[in-house]
């Protein structure tokens, strides 16, 4: 299933639709959004409208859904209690399932799947810890992590997807 079909299936779901359809387009979400202030093409209110109208290609255009910082200002301020930042996670998941993932995020997810850590343990950090009288970092049980990820089909995505969204760093 491609990303657009995934999104259509998601937003055709009655429960999902019910959450969105109470939006009266007041724009509180956009007014409080830190990203919208610096990237006018990122507009949460308009994004919600676009989803309601079923224009999924616009939702997936550029890498807009990945620009949410998950600060949850929109969720906190929405007078209709629409949890937009949470709904965006569903959209990201649907895009990711069809292989549309920013490169850097895919790399970070791979690092977590392979080492259990989002930032690598470096020799420098171990020396630094010792200097501060902190205990060494204990090893992570990677096998357990991979068993869990495998059961959710997570590594399947990691293996078969290649980033087709432009990241700013190579």
């Amino acid at each position: 299933m491609g990303a657009i079909e995934k999104l259509r299936a998601l937003t055709d779901d009655q429960n999902f639709r019910k959450k969105l359809s109470v939006c009266y387009q007041c724009g509180m979400c956009t007014g409080g959004c830190p990203v919208a202030h610096v990237r006018p093409d990122y507009n949460p209110r308009r994004m919600l409208e676009t989803i309601l109208l079923g224009r999924y290609d616009e939702v997936l255009a550029s890498n807009l859904i990945w620009l949410c910082t998950s600060c949850h200002s929109c969720l906190e301020r929405c007078p209709q209690r629409i949890e937009l930042s949470e709904l965006l996670v569903d959209l990201k998941n649907a895009a990711a399932e069809s292989g549309s993932i920013p490169k850097m995020l895919l790399e970070r997810a791979k690092r977590i799947a392979e080492t259990g850590q989002s930032t690598p343990v470096s020799k420098a950090s171990l020396v630094w810890r010792e200097k501060l009288n902190l205990s060494p970092i204990s090893p992570v049980n990677v096998e357990e992590i991979q068993t869990i990820l495998q059961a959710t089909k997570f590594p399947g995505w990691l293996e078969r997807t290649r980033s087709n969204v432009n990241g700013t760093r190579e």
């Binding site: 830190p34 910082t69 992570v140």
Partner: protein, 298 residues
């Protein structure tokens, strides 16, 4: 339910590997109030709420459930210095506990690795423990070198506050607990615009310019307010405001010169911990802060 003053310590990847000085400062402060930190053996990344949650919610729940199960086996509440870890583990704890179908799915996953989520512990952040459990009165009694005259702008970090249905923060738009923790040191918490603005850090790998532009807004407001430094409660915000400050200055051809401290570092200064013991290895030098307080660098 956890046991009294003992916590399962969850420093998170960034503090463990990139900012151990935050862990050192936390330990100094918590130890002074009789808090014992027990290592969570075998725990992994929280998992972080951007890549892992964005790529797959079920995987995110499964791994968060694993960390929670490890703490449950220890019979301790989790304590972390990182709002990202705090929010991930607290959100997962609440959802898995209250949503029976989510709980079934997570426990299906955990059964494959011989673990089980029971919903028996809570998740705390160093700031919430200091403010709510230890209390301002007890902290005030441990202040040996009041930071009188220091003007501090506080920055909580989004995930320490929101969603408030998860964090329980009374007023997520106008929070006060970090300000109180700063003021108990004798410093002044200065009011400034855009106080609860996001640091922009999470999107730095997708759009660095937008990420920096968001951080710039905050740094300008802090500078305009005439604060001597910014006190943060989040390692990710620390990276954005301190580690990246020179890059942000370069990007916008501006100068901010805002020193950034983690909230327990500030408390260490007030408790008389020698500067050399924590190191304060920030990118933006703390000279302005230390000079104002006449604190020696030894």
């Amino acid at each position: 339910m956890g046991q009294g003053n003992r916590f399962a310590w969850f420093p998170g990847c960034w503090v463990s590997n990139r900012m151990p000085y935050i862990e050192a400062a936390d330990r100094r402060v918590l130890d002074a109030f009789g808090i014992e930190l027990v290592e969570m053996k075998g725990a992994q990344c929280c998992p972080e709420p951007y890549a892992v949650l964005g790529l797959g919610r079920e995987a995110w729940f499964g791994l968060a459930g694993r960390n929670l199960a490890i703490a449950e086996e220890m019979k301790h509440d989790i304590l972390t210095p990182c709002p990202g870890c705090y929010n991930t583990l607290k959100t997962a704890n609440m959802s898995i506990r209250n949503d029976s179908s989510q709980r079934r799915r997570v426990n299906d996953l955990l059964s494959k690795v011989g673990r089980e989520f029971k919903g028996e512990i809570e998740v705390e952040h160093t700031a919430t423990v200091l403010h709510n459990k230890i209390g301002l009165e007890k902290i005030a009694g441990a202040i040996e070198r009041p930071l009188v005259g220091l003007r501090v702008a506080t920055h909580y970090g989004c995930h320490l506050l929101r969603p408030s249905r998860v964090t329980g923060t009374e007023d997520p738009e106008r929070p006060t607990f970090l300000d109180r923790l700063v003021e108990v040191t004798g410093a002044e918490s200065v009011p400034y615009m855009r106080k609860t603005l996001c640091c922009g850090g999470p999107i730095s790998s997708v759009d660095e310019n937008a990420s920096y532009a968001i951080a710039r807004e905050k740094l300008l407001k802090v500078k305009q307010a005439g604060a001597d430094c910014l006190a943060v409660a989040c390692p990710a915000c620390m990276i954005q405001y301190d580690t990246n400050q020179h890059s942000i200055e370069k990007t916008f051809s501006e100068t901010y010169g805002v020193p950034v401290l983690y909230h327990t570092e500030l408390m260490c200064l007030a408790m008389g911990v020698p500067v050399g013991q924590i190191g304060f290895p920030h990118q933006v030098k703390l000279d302005r802060v230390l000079d104002k307080l006449s604190i020696s660098r030894a």
